[in-house]
Amino acid sequence: MLEIENLHVSVDGAEIIRGLSLRVPAGETHALMGPNGSGKSTLAYALSGRDGYEVTRGRAALAGVDLLALTPEERAASGLFLSFQYPVEIPGLSAIAFLKAALNAQRAARGEAPMPAPELLKLLRAKAEALKIDAEMLKRPLNVGFSGGEKKRFEALQMAVLEPRFAILDETDSGLDIDALRIVAENVNALRAPQRAMLVITHYQRLLDYIKPDRVHVLAAGRIVAEGGPELVHELEREGYDKYLRAA
């Protein structure tokens, strides 16, 4: 599904990702762990096509499609979704209007007709209810004045509505209390499917108690320095990242 080979990414001329290779097969959920500054968010932004994240070498493909040749919106339409660590406030644009624009843009890119408004509203309400989001909040400008936890729930809502093929969850646990974490994790787990895959970026074990990864990759200084099964999470929790930092 997602295949990254020898990826190098520079930001403002400084190389942050230095030869990263990673494969996440369809149907699997992988965790990407690593200390602050190791390049986790840089990888997420580079894969999404954010300006200023310059890929200098390597390749990244989703289901055989070269992501790096596409605009951010084309990457989204081909099934990539990034749950932001810091979701952006959109003054003046309601969550409903935002999701309508996003969903219909992706449908248009796939040659499908726009979703009729009543159907869309019904879909949004159902998905919001599952995430315990008050339907009234859908009318408010997206993320404006939302708490950290509310913003992360709305990221999960967008993911549930857009049904991406591949989702990157960038520190979805930050800002969430334990109840909200459980609800968001349940909704993410509900999206696990044989034709879908996910990369969960986090510092901590906590989120991975709820979203159980099939494999764990450790990122330090821009490279994958260790890989293993779910047991690696516990080792990291016990021993920290020190030995990987020294090795890197």
């Binding site: 989204a76 003054p91 624009a101």
Partner: protein, 290 residues
């Protein structure tokens, strides 16, 4: 009379709108005294909103060639309300002056939607004469290449406990020029005044121009006054966020600009009028994109 009587940029109140340069040396039969727009208009329309009444006026300013100047005076009585909607679009030199006097507890809601002309100025002067009056004086400008829109206002609080809310927003395309000059004066007698003035301009491309001169002159000590003024480009983070969800760059820009502008439409206008004004702005944005 000669055109030399028209203000140049050296006149402070016209520093961003060079009327003399725009009109040239054509002679005018100017009326004596008063505001230059009033003198050019020759006549001043006078309207009164009697105590307790409500008046809604819609003005469309879209004269053809030459100089089109108009002046109006509104006297709004105790507890009365005036809603004024001004749509300015096109023409050569378009000048509009409105003076509004508010008695006690009177209310003025104004929205100006200006698409500019070779030189367009929509000027409003409000005198808060009575206690507890309310002013919502909002404006929007959308200027394409070769267009100039100037929203100028003076809100003068002479009486206590008045409230002013002013939000002016605008966008300028390459080669377009937007101007906001807003002065709020709070006299010593106007204690307990609560005035807020905000102007936010968005430059849609390099080569767009926005000039702003916000001014607060406060002579009373027990007042609440706030103002803010910004001019910048589109929020790149918001743009990427929307694109990462699949919205095309052009559509994302249009939606963000629309959302930016919509905020200045007063709630009290009602859904139908707001939608009408929004529709005009959307049409402009579509054209600006193509």
């Amino acid at each position: 009379m000669s055109a030399a009587l028209l203000p140049t940029r050296r006149v402070e109140a016209w520093k961003y709108s060079d009327l003399h340069a725009a009109v040239g040396d054509a002679p005018f039969a100017l009326r004596e005294g008063g505001h230059i727009i009033e003198r050019l208009a020759g006549t001043t329309e006078r309207r009164e909103v009697r105590a307790g009444d409500h008046l809604v006026v819609a003005e469309r300013i879209d004269g053809g060639g030459g100089v089109d100047a108009r002046a109006a005076d509104f006297a709004v009585g105790e507890g009365a309300s005036l809603t004024r909607v001004v749509i300015q679009d096109g023409g050569e030199v378009q000048l509009s002056l409105a003076r509004v006097r508010l008695a006690a507890r009177a209310k003025l809601t104004q929205i100006v939607l200006a698409f500019g002309a070779r030189l367009a100025r929509v000027e409003t002067q409000v005198d808060v004469d009575g206690e507890g009056a309310f002013v919502e004086l909002n404006g929007l400008y959308l200027v394409a290449a070769g267009r100039h829109a100037d929203l100028t206002s003076v809100i003068h609080h002479h009486a206590p406990a008045g409230v002013t809310r002013q939000l002016v927003k605008g966008v300028a395309a390459k080669g377009g020029r937007g101007v906001f000059q807003g002065k709020i004066v709070v006299d010593r007698a106007a204690q307990k005044t609560d005035a807020r003035q905000h102007h936010h301009g968005m430059l849609l491309a390099a080569g767009a121009e926005i000039f702003a001169k916000p001014e607060l002159m406060i002579y009373a000590d027990d007042v609440q006054c706030a103002h803010g003024n910004t001019a910048g480009g589109i929020d790149e983070r918001a743009l990427f966020y929307m694109r990462s969800r699949g919205v095309t760059e052009a559509e994302a820009r249009a939606l963000l600009v629309e959302a930016f502008l919509a905020e200045a439409l007063p709630e009290s206008l009602g859904a139908e009028l707001r939608e009408d004004l929004m529709g005009r702005m959307r049409a402009w944005l579509r054209e600006a994109r193509s």
